[in-house]
């Protein structure tokens, strides 16, 4: 090792000025957890209001602010940064690189996020309240009828868009230029592959989102009429632009989750991943298809039948590569020497629940049926099965799986398993009944509802409190591990784990792979 080898700086300066991918990854992970708690608090307020029919706790306007901010904070604050944090920690370690390609930009990508979310959260205290138009911010709700705080919302979206784009450029530049000799594309771990494709999606669609909010800004303040019919514009145009971003966005959220699951399931099955190449091609196919299905979110706007059919069939086509993935994971487990540590439990939970979410998605893709499901709780149930049981479960699995490598300490396995079972049960109590109330016609984003939905809503709320409380246990377990967990010294924390990140010492030193590793037969 070179004589410039040194550890982290001391004090707050370490975190403010760091260019170390591990430090930045850690900050992303903690920031996203803080946002997860904030967005979760909003969710608890929503479920508390919906515990019983009638107006109980909050004003309808405030309720709308809660649904809006819950969605925005969870999507842009919790899920996306958490996977960027994971990418920062793991991609250099997985491809044998000393750091990210652009360490200084990496620091900026992270540090503009907290001000962006501070700006978004500050709208809660402004006159007229926070944005209350849903996380999809359809015009003219978000233009003509929005509270003045919408301008702060627009700039917050700009900031976190810039952060995402810089983060993605960094990831692509790292993967394309900094792989260890011998690490060809088709030898990269699947997590790296899914993130590479995700980063391309981000570079392509985050600017589209920025364009949409810029048009809103111009409509509100500069007298243009992109979305105003009075001036020759069209509100439906907003939906097309939004979902042209929004549909790839859902794959931006779920593809890294696929990558995580593809790393963890083989480790606890003690078998290589089944169908590696097909996983790569399936990921690429999903990414391509995500660009041509956006209007399935807007079947009810009055599209021509030919359009409805095109978007319906294109959407259904996504079930094919996704099915390839699900079958590959199951086949990986088939006849494996399975063991059920916490990361594996969360991955199996992911597999079961994500598949349910996929099937409800298939139901929603059927244009004629969607007219009944549109904007009901059925949609809410569907996307929480893929967002929470998909993205959040896999993220939780990732934390349990790699935490011993990061911290050099083992988490409490019993507590982890308890966390999984409470999460799994709480999640299903929350969201499974929402399928039923949705099919029975309960609309989403309403603070009050008809009496016949009362029992299922009470069930949902109880489940939500259970699921929410289980995250406190998670936080406690992680903190207890970092501070006083049992020390781990094996390079390979899990006996079935494969990959370069398990060849470095535990805990991972501040600098790794300053000299590119030689890929032995097992890794090459």
């Amino acid at each position: 090792m070179g004589d410039h080898h040194h550890g982290p700086a001391t004090g707050i300066g370490r975190w403010l000025f760091t260019t170390n991918h591990k430090d930045i990854g850690t900050m992303y992970l903690w920031f996203s957890f803080a946002m997860f708690i904030l967005g979760g608090t909003f969710a608890m307020i929503i479920r508390a209001e919906l515990f019983q029919p009638g107006m109980q706790l909050v004003e309808p306007g405030f309720f709308n602010q809660m649904t809006t901010l819950h969605g925005l904070v969870m999507v842009f604050g919790a899920i996306m940064p958490s996977f960027v944090g994971l990418a920062n920690w793991l991609i250099p370690m997985m491809i044998g690189a000393p750091d990210m390609a652009l360490p200084r930009m990496n620091n900026w990508s992270f540090w503009i996020l907290p001000p962006g979310f501070l700006m978004l959260a500050s709208t809660l205290f402004m006159e007229g309240g926070a944005p209350a138009f849903g996380w999809t911010f359809y015009a003219p709700l978000s233009t003509t009828y929005a509270a003045p705080s919408v301008t702060f919302f627009i700039f917050a979206i700009h900031i976190l868009g810039v952060s995402s784009i810089m983060g993605s450029i960094n990831i692509i530049a790292t993967v394309m230029n900094m792989r260890a000799p011998g690490m060809t594309y088709m030898k990269m771990p699947l997590f790296v592959w899914t993130w590479l494709i995700t980063a391309f999606l981000l570079v392509a669609v985050m600017p589209v989102l920025a364009g949409a909010v810029t048009m809103m800004l111009m409509d509100i303040h500069f007298g243009t009429s992109f979305f105003s019919a009075a001036g020759g514009g069209d509100p439906v145009l907003f939906q097309h632009i939004f979902w042209f971003f929004g549909h790839p966005e859902v794959y931006i959220i779920i593809l890294p989750a696929f990558g995580v699951v593809s790393q963890i399931i083989p480790a606890f099955s003690r078998k290589p991943l089944f169908g590696y190449a097909s996983m790569v091609y399936a990921t690429a196919s999903i990414a391509f298809l995500s660009f041509i299905v956006w209007a399935h979110h807007m079947y009810t706007v009055g599209m021509p039948v030919a359009g409805e059919l095109f978007f319906m069939y294109a959407t259904m086509l996504i079930a094919v590569p996704t099915g390839v993935k699900v079958f590959n994971w199951i086949t990986t487990m088939w006849r494996g020497a399975l063991s059920f540590e916490t990361p594996m439990l969360f991955c199996i939970g992911f597999l079961v629940l994500f598949t349910i979410g996929g099937f409800t998605g298939l139901m929603l893709s059927i244009a004629p049926a969607d007219f009944q499901y549109h904007d009901t709780y059925f949609v809410v149930a569907h996307f929480h099965y893929v967002m929470v049981a998909g993205a959040v479960f896999s993220m939780t699995a990732a934390v349990y799986y790699w935490l011993p490598k990061w911290s050099g300490r083992m988490y409490n396995e019993t507590m982890g398993k308890v966390h999984f079972w409470i999460s799994f049960v709480g999640f299903n109590i929350t969201f499974f009944p929402q399928h039923f109330v949705g099919l029975a016609g309960m609309p989403r984003r309403i603070p009050d509802y008809a009496l016949q939905f009362a029992d299922f809503n009470m069930m949902s709320s109880i489940g939500a409190f259970i699921y929410g409380a289980s995250q406190i246990l998670f936080l406690y377990n992680v903190l207890a591990t970092i501070i006083a967990g049992e020390k781990v010294t094996d390079d390979k924390v899990w006996d079935g784990a494969e990959g370069l990140e398990w060849t470095i010492p535990t805990p991972a030193p501040y600098h790794t792979f300053e000299v590119p590793p030689k890929l032995d037969a097992a890794h090459a």
Binding site: I172, M206, P207, A230
Partner: protein, 185 residues
């Protein structure tokens, strides 16, 4: 193509170009393309914003189409706005006239813009307007009223299964917008 000798710089420059291009794509491609497609295909119920030049074509007296008129005020628009007749039976190919009544009950001079929409949207491209008050902004002094003309032809090629066409106008208050434009000049 290499944009820089340093491979990382090269990757970054290319990706930055892509993201800037995607931002521009929204404004210079998606918006115009959406409007062009809606105009060309007549989807979204949008009728042409230009007057139609009548072509010589036989009037199809065999078919009779019911054309319904709906007038709606946009949120906060104080005008009285309604069609003189709410429905008329027309033959494809024949020129038809009707008028809409508008009154400005306020004390101020106001400018309105009517935005048309046709249902079923498939009928939009077969519904030709030779003259329409919706082609222009409509100024009206306070406490006065007017009759606004509409001339239209239903195309002979209108699909056989369409028997009723509904033409809906929404009236928007554009007074503030117009005065801003004048001030800007």
């Amino acid at each position: 193509m290499r944009l820089s000798a340093n491979p990382t710089t090269d990757t970054v420059l290319k990706l930055a170009t892509v993201s800037v291009a995607m931002f521009a794509f929204v404004f210079v491609v998606m918006v115009p393309l959406y409007n062009v497609l809606c105009d060309a295909l007549g989807i979204n119920g949008k009728t042409s914003a230009q007057a139609y030049t009548a072509v010589d074509a036989a009037v199809d007296t065999e078919r009779s189409i019911t054309v319904q008129f709906i007038a709606t005020n946009n949120d906060g628009m104080p005008w009285e706005f309604r069609p003189q007749v709410t429905a008329m039976a027309v033959h494809p190919g024949a020129a038809n006239d009707t008028v809409f009544f508008a009154a400005n009950p306020t004390a101020q001079h106001m400018v309105a813009q009517a935005i048309p929409s046709v249902s079923p949207s498939r009928a939009a491209e077969y519904f030709h307007k030779t003259e329409c008050f919706c082609f222009n902004q409509q100024p009206l002094e306070g406490e006065s009223d007017t009759l606004m003309p509409l001339q239209f032809i239903v195309d002979q090629d209108l699909p056989k299964d369409i028997k009723t066409i509904t033409l809906s106008y929404t009236l928007f208050d554009v007074t503030a917008r117009v005065s801003e434009q004048i001030a800007a000049r």
